[in-house]
Symmetry: C2
Subunit: 404 residues, 2 copies
Amino acid sequence: MLENIQYFAKYKENPLLFKTILEQSKEGAYYCLPDTNEADILNIIDFAKKVKKNNIALLGIGGSALGARAVYNFLKYSNKFSRSICFLESTDPVLLNASLEKIDFDDTLFLLISKSGSTIETMSIFKYLLSKLELSQENFAFISDKDSPLDKLAQKHKINFFEIPKNVGGRFSVLSAVGLVPLALLGVDIKALLRGAKEVKDEFFSCGEIYTKLISKARFYVKNSNKININCLFSYSEVFRSFNAWYVQLWGESLGKKQIHSDLNVGLTPIGLIGPSDQHSFLQLIMQGKRDKSVSFIKIKDFKSKLKIPDINIEFNEDLNFINSLSFSKLINLQADSIIQSLKANADIALDILEIPRVDEPSIGMLFYYYELLTSLVAILFDINAYNQPGVEDGKKILRSYFD
Amino acid sequence: MLENIQYFAKYKENPLLFKTILEQSKEGAYYCLPDTNEADILNIIDFAKKVKKNNIALLGIGGSALGARAVYNFLKYSNKFSRSICFLESTDPVLLNASLEKIDFDDTLFLLISKSGSTIETMSIFKYLLSKLELSQENFAFISDKDSPLDKLAQKHKINFFEIPKNVGGRFSVLSAVGLVPLALLGVDIKALLRGAKEVKDEFFSCGEIYTKLISKARFYVKNSNKININCLFSYSEVFRSFNAWYVQLWGESLGKKQIHSDLNVGLTPIGLIGPSDQHSFLQLIMQGKRDKSVSFIKIKDFKSKLKIPDINIEFNEDLNFINSLSFSKLINLQADSIIQSLKANADIALDILEIPRVDEPSIGMLFYYYELLTSLVAILFDINAYNQPGVEDGKKILRSYFD
């Protein structure tokens, strides 16, 4: 199970907070995704088995891609996937051109993911693809809201279609078809992914250990938000790079809002860091900079890696022989421990540690659900709506106005 | 030339500030790197020509790798490099294992970069390599401080060695051998890179347009640092992803410090964003969140890309036909413009725009020098030392103590 050790002031339970999140959870939304019924899961696995193409291209941006990408990058160093995947996320001309050049158009299933069914970036690339490919069941599959333009197009052309459940926003959708379909196509064990999330869900709603920890952390963050407006996630392994990006979207887009009962702008700023690399980049700022940051470390208990530092002396560098014969996995965890210890001793920063058992599907499922719950709790305390993003609409309107 | 349009309060010149930076620049350090003499540059180019291996592996972490990586990723979509490069930055066991598996040990030059000559991550990987390879001039080259353990090892074993100039710290070293040697090995035009930086240098120290802009921006940032403690760099193209990482290290590690004349912790927090992707992630927080952020946009005037959105109608999505026949380069710049306009109109955020002519060596040279100067100016105003990083030493001591 996910372990969370916290080194900041403890806050007790708040019955109203629990009542509100319990009510929210009964309305469905992302809360019930770990309980997705067996038939729906089998339907996705069955679809994945029937696809004849050996490669997947995921067309989607933001919440439509970040969840699947987080799992893919988490597992890619240790898993053998059944298909290759490429992400066509951006309309950036240089990146798009480079990605398109590598695609085998005859042997790729293009998976379009767009909640609204009319995301401008995704549709621009879709138009480009339609200049090369027939709109057929063999070439395409869609994931979108029911009754969206993509749903209608799917019906008309008999394209395989997966619905995004009602009230599940993009950044909370990784455990819905949005994440499960592309991951099933790669051969990821999506049942195990949901099982990990369900462990956290059950422990939270039955008021176990995770419940106590999440409530206390959410209350601490909101109580101190005027002073500590930046929340760093310092993940000790490269496997978390895309998970960090998922966290940044979840936290930033959910918590940067006007308050419901006032027009006050509130928000907490997420930062994703990777250890040990960012010890050589961001650590100095945490250690000696302004006291405006909290830091959550993520560690992996068992890397299952045997790579070792050989017992070799480098002349003029004899001082470093203390690391000889150490495994690289032991080294990275000791590096994390030493940074945590130095921050605790010298900087008096709000710290906590999240430790997952290993690099597998249940572990990342736990992390997803833990952060989704934390986001919901902080939003309730802030009196904001975590699930909309009204601030991004103006830019879209202005873009369109350039063409009038 | 680099253009900088600023939409925040203007601050006039401050004679003492200019006097101090002028004095600093006369002491050498990074300031004089754009004036590196022709013979030193030719020496590097000549070395690059003589190397027989077709692949480069750069062993280095933090400032030893981020600069070269920023240029490499900036150019990689449009340039043909003369060699391949891989970065062995981290001791992370999963990433390291995956990287090592891909290396052709017989046809790779391993370039070790470490200012101190005893960086633990770099030396651990070096030990691993020494278990596979002979310590010879054919296999290795070193870049380090004069008289460091690596310098001594190079002398003893006749390894090619390049010195890091005195007083040039890792994060300010991209225009020294640290950046120039690996980039010359890739066939990057390092003279053009330095020329771009020199344009900014000359315009600044002759008190031209860039001088006025940099002074005003630095003063605005410091004056408002209690309210605005986060500085976002929103770069509109994937080519800037590693440049953003370089900026994050430069800004965070230089500006997160105790003040020289007090023990007050000050600091500004850098965030790197990529457009348009992060319009679907971080934009909501900028637009409606707490007013604790400034945003600098980077745009490319001419992408030199011809990729177009075809004139294709998608049924049920006729509303989107306004983008038909538009080039993707035009679209990305219009997306940037629309976001800038919406932030100006609705959020009253401190904004500015940096526009570079195109994706080439002089353009990124300009950006490096612009940000280095800005960092130095802000540090002087904050009364901090931009060039050290005392906060990271404790962690190293604690790590070592685990083995006593």
